[in-house]
Amino acid sequence: MPMLAASLLLIAFPTSAAARSGGGLASFEDPPVVPGATSTLVRGRALPPAEAPPAVTAAIRAGNRIRARTYIWGGGHGSWASRGYDCSGAVSFALHGAGLLQTPLDSTSMMSWGAAGPGDWITIYANHRHAFAEIAGLRWDTSGDRRGVSGPRWHVDPADARGFVVRHPIGY
């Protein structure tokens, strides 16, 4: 029974790594998150909210890993590891980090991916020219930065869904 309980904890908190007791039942989540259900943007990095499911936290942490890369058309489609990413490559990377996507998608493919409408945690906006996502309240987008800056970045300003098909990963 204790082994079963320990296994359940491992499933429930896959990001808890540094402070797990050896063979015990208790854990301490590491690194820290922010309270509530909305991400906080600090110096360009998104801090996951405590109430987010582990997959959403993983998507945010994945985004943070490439948040300073440049925009490269087609980037992220040949390989997950890339010097730069395009819009759908960046969205695909975050979804892949969450374990929700195995192969990168282009923006047209995203128009029919997942389920219709906004999600509780993750929403994808896609049309034939562009794609971006909203994850736990922050916009994950390669556009909308100041002039001369382009690439996958977190944004606090809300998404403008006009002209986009709205989808979400099933369950999120």
Binding site: R20, A26, F28, E29, P31, V33, V34, G36, L47
Partner: protein, 131 residues
């Protein structure tokens, strides 16, 4: 002329008198905020007693410089776990979620650069008050 100079002096004296307590209050504000709550939401309140199966969180905020902190929990049976090198930006409230099925008294301690900056006791599952 003398009267207006006197009025000016009085105004300055009053302004300085009013500003002094504010400056003192700012100087006395603790550098760190730390507490435990029985939830992980924005409005979670500090608590020293949590029901079993609640989601406890160890909250931390630095009011001055951005720091790296360590937070440790000592469980009722005496074992200690630490989450080390946690990055905290000034003004942002962070939370380390705690999963513990063990009833009893828990002790949370926060460290910044090896120096203890806070300690908090809370009890899970029993009605005894925390010390």
């Amino acid at each position: 002329m003398a009267r207006s100079a006197l009025t000016l002096c009085a105004a300055i004296a009053i302004a300085l008198g009013a500003a002094a307590p504010v400056a003192a209050a700012e100087a006395e504000a603790p550098a760190y905020q730390h507490f435990v709550a029985c939830g992980l939401g924005h409005h979670a309140k500090p608590s020293h007693h949590c029901p079993r199966r609640s989601a406890e969180g160890a909250f931390f905020r630095t009011r001055r410089d951005s720091v790296h902190y360590t937070v440790c929990v000592r469980f009722p049976e005496g074992r200690t776990l630490c989450a080390k090198h946690q990055e905290a930006d000034r003004g942002v409230l962070y939370v380390n979620a705690l999963t513990t099925p063990q009833p009893g008294l828990h002790r949370i301690t926060w460290f910044v650069e090896g120096k203890r900056v806070g300690r908090y006791y809370f009890r899970i599952g029993t009605s005894n008050t925390a010390r």
